[in-house]
Symmetry: C2
């Protein structure tokens, strides 16, 4: 598999995201890069392979590889700094080897061996972390192994009456959906990384998908979770699949989001649903972000449940229209003809409803009436249908941009509705000057996420990494000042660890450390991630 | 307040639930108590006051009472065994005194004092636990105090834009709703105990209310929780109000459901909603429980979201119709005339929808069409409207029955849909012979609750307590054998503690104990509840 992947970037070698000349020119103009000119070649140029530290000799008790390509594949995630480090030979760490256990017993034996040999273990799913969650750090241990879960990849059981599927953690998105859909069911979890990430990774990071506004984040979909721990003696923590219970604190919520620091999530029982009877997209233009925001809030607070929810701010709307060529489309020409071109300076709000046909129809109708009251103009379903086709393509764009000398980083947060407008404003004002796009992709009765795309001309790699660090620091400060969370769905990893004390407070962090102490008393699990150092 | 309450039973002295003669006779017939005859007096006879153990001398650092009525009020909860023990002077424990702190600082000082003086502390809200959750047990401590939260009873803040209300934990249901509703909002949490229970109690026990199928159990409504702990040094655990987050394990879920064993929940930020635009009840008769069950399942799995959901089995339907006089109503006469009287041996399914008018209308229409396909007969909204008026009256009925020499106990569970029919059957077959009613009151995509009412002729108090114990033991075994939970919303307390190891497994219990150790290292908080003894 590794051979077909782009080791220095996103996804498959066979795919890319070439940008037409007119789009390149638009982008240069937006970024005020007056000296650049569009390049019509779209050939993918492979950088030179980076240097990896020498692996330490190890003999773990299961299938094991110290091959360069395996170690490289499991060395780091896919954040923009990761990509820069991969491209420019600045990787400081790699696992000493990769183990590929075939079952829980092998994992349990491996954990015992790792404790006995003081070897750190980093659970590894698809390796798409954008927060340094899978960086092969060994902490103060003798060595570090990546525990690649890819062989635990089956849907073990489907209870069709209850809509509950017991699934192994190492399964990738497409295989999971395929195994369910051939029986008429779907998990409905479609993160941007869907094709290259695993159920275990989603659970470990409290992942959200593009349909999560209806089906919930992965933690809401998980009815039960099973985790193996290197405790004394080695043990497991597992919950039972129950629709709800009142039997004390919910320990399942300690496993979900544990980012590999407590143990290895090996399987989960997931809430799945029959494939929807009806699906309908509906897009609107709003004169500005504020009016679209008002509609978004009312839609959620009136109990509508869109599956897909995407409200772009003015800058994002303008740039995506330019890059996609939509500003030259028939629809846009029609708007100009109709004298409604002011909407084109406004913002795009896309909703997608799915489920029971009667309900979908009512929800679309309610959404239209709320949108109209808030100043929105319905523009039909075609933007949604187009988006659906391209929904997993955007990460490839990051590589195209890096090839063009433009760095793009995304980060996201969430806050109560009342706090979002000021947060949006502050981020736009305070981040290092660049092009800043924002959208809301997940919404709730009490608030929403906010997703920021930050584009900047890339100076040389070291300056770029430094600039990224400065941007990240400012973003974190602004997020905290505004009572928002440091992550809605990207998780903590290494990058957000410095904010965890502020995010959670001493009391919560002490409880996290107590959980770590009981599950992983020797501290071998994914060192340096999630839990603040004491 | 205590003076106006029925110390030996439910609620207010001024209210009761007298049973007309025809209803008494129906009940005797159902229970095959051929020697009983209806009694037309409905006078409430107060039993003799029970004996309480002598209080130990104590001087805690805040408002404090050792008055008999306060100690009696906070001695125990309101399970059927509690009522038997109160009526028949078999109470074995009472707090040495009751403290009534006015703010968090006083609570923190009290906890510090309790640690220093080895005094156990039982957080006390409304005292309506039906699982021994507030029994004043002192464990191996010198004394035990009830910490009555009633003075922390304010809605502190309402963020109308986000629908978030910061509320003190000691507030009772009616005051909470009144303070919110005068500003156009509602929490929408209506447990049977609503009038006499508190927000803190709901949170500590993972309470469910009569509208929870739409708004969620209390844990879904809680955006943030704040808990004071007697840790070394005394501390607090608090979370921030966020719509969602991906920053590691959710420690809030360790506070919710903690039943006073980790600390004192002092306030929470709750998700509230604007008062609904539309409300509509819709009832159906189904020929039998199986067909009603099929409709229930489809309603949830098609994404409908009824607020009120109540599917009674055949026995419950028959008894409630008899007791309420419905079997002599015009509607029932009409059914007989129409030749549809077989439905009267079937089961009643009541749904209540509320929210945005367009959606409510669509949901009622979808529910009707699903019900029809499953063999249901629509009987309109009047059963629902009648139920709404009487929704908090039923607990008084328990006292009336005990006065009549009939013991009634309720317990509840939840399981995936696929496991519920066998569970229902097994409970009906294996519980000690008696009258057994069942209904589903909370439903989810993947399963539902099951609520059992067990009626039995009451022998003398000691035999009754023994019989109850036998019933409870069998119920627990059957529930566990069928993969269900020992409680969907009544919680654990003392009564369900023996099942916790089976419910959760060693791994989870170890994590619970680790949380206990860090929050309450001296073990003063609510001893003997929730966490299995090691």
């Amino acid at each position: 598999m590794a051979a077909l992947r782009r080791w220095w970037g996103w996804g498959k070698l066979s795919r890319s995201f070439p940008l037409p000349s007119y789009a390149q020119e638009s982008l240069f103009a937006e970024l005020e890069l007056t000296d650049r000119s569009a390049n019509s070649t779209s050939a993918v140029v492979e950088p030179e392979l980076p240097h990896l530290p020498e692996p330490r000799p190890l003999a773990p008790p299961c299938a094991f590889s110290q091959a360069f390509e395996d170690r490289l594949r499991c060395a780091t995630g896919r954040s923009t700094p990761d990509l820069l480090r991969l491209r420019f030979n600045r990787l400081l760490h790699a696992p000493d080897g990769v183990v590929l256990p075939e079952n829980e017993q092998q994992i349990q034996e491996l954990l015992r061996w790792a404790v006995d040999n003081a070897v750190a273990v980093v659970p590894f799913g698809g390796g798409t972390s954008v927060v340094g969650g899978v960086d092969a750090l060994r902490g103060d241990h003798a060595a570090v192994l990546a525990l690649d879960m890819q062989k635990l990849n089956q849907v073990l059981d489907l209870d069709e009456k209850s809509g509950l599927a017991r699934i192994q953690a190492g399964i990738f998105g497409p295989a999971l959906e395929q195994q369910l859909q051939q029986r008429g069911f779907s998990l409905g979890h479609f993160p941007q990384s869907f094709e290259f990430s695993t159920l275990g990774g989603w659970l470990a990071t409290r992942s959200a998908g593009q349909n999560s506004t209806l089906y919930g984040k992965i933690e809401h979909m998980a009815a039960a979770v099973r985790m193996l721990t290197p405790s004394d003696p080695p043990s497991q923590v597992e919950s039972r699949a129950l629709p709800a219970s009142a039997t004390g604190p919910e320990i399942k919520e300690m496993m979900v989001g544990s980012e590999g620091v407590l143990g290895v999530i090996t399987e989960a029982t997931m809430r799945v649903h029959a494939l929807p009877q009806a699906t309908q997209y509906q897009s609107f233009f709003f004169p500005d972000f504020a009016s679209g925001f008002g509609a978004a809030q009312q839609i959620m607070q009136n109990g509508l449940r869109p599956a897909v929810f995407r409200l772009s701010d003015e800058t994002e709307t303008r740039l995506l229209m330019k890059l996609g060529g939509a500003d030259r489309s028939k629809g846009v020409k029609l708007l100009r003809l109709l004298g409604k071109s002011t909407y084109l300076d406004g913002c795009h709000f896309m909703l997608g409803f799915e489920g029971h046909a009667t309900l979908v129809k009512a929800e679309v109708s309610a959404a239209k009436s709320i949108a109209k009251r808030c100043g929105g103009l319905g523009i039909g379903s075609s933007p949604g249908r187009r988006w659906e086709k391209e929904r997993f393509e955007l990460p490839y764009f990051r590589d195209t941009l890096l090839d063009m000398g433009i760095m793009v980083e995304t980060f996201e947060t969430a806050a109560p509705w009342s706090k979002l407008p000021a947060l949006h404003q502050a981020l736009r004002q305070q981040l290092p000057a660049s092009l800043i796009l924002a959208h809301i992709s997940h919404a709730y009765r009490d608030g929403a996420s906010l997703y920021i795309t930050w584009l900047h001309d890339t100076p040389d790699p070291d300056q770029a990494l430094e600039l990224w660090q400065r941007m990240k620091q400012i973003a974190g400060e602004v997020i905290m000042q505004h009572g928002a969370t440091i992550s809605h769905h990207h998780a903590v990893g290494s990058d957000h660890k410095p904010w965890m004390m502020q995010e959670r407070g001493t009391g919560q962090v002490q409880m996290l450390r107590a959980a770590k102490q009981i599950c992983d008393p020797h501290g071998i699990m994914n060192p340096g991630k999630l839990i603040p150092d004491s």
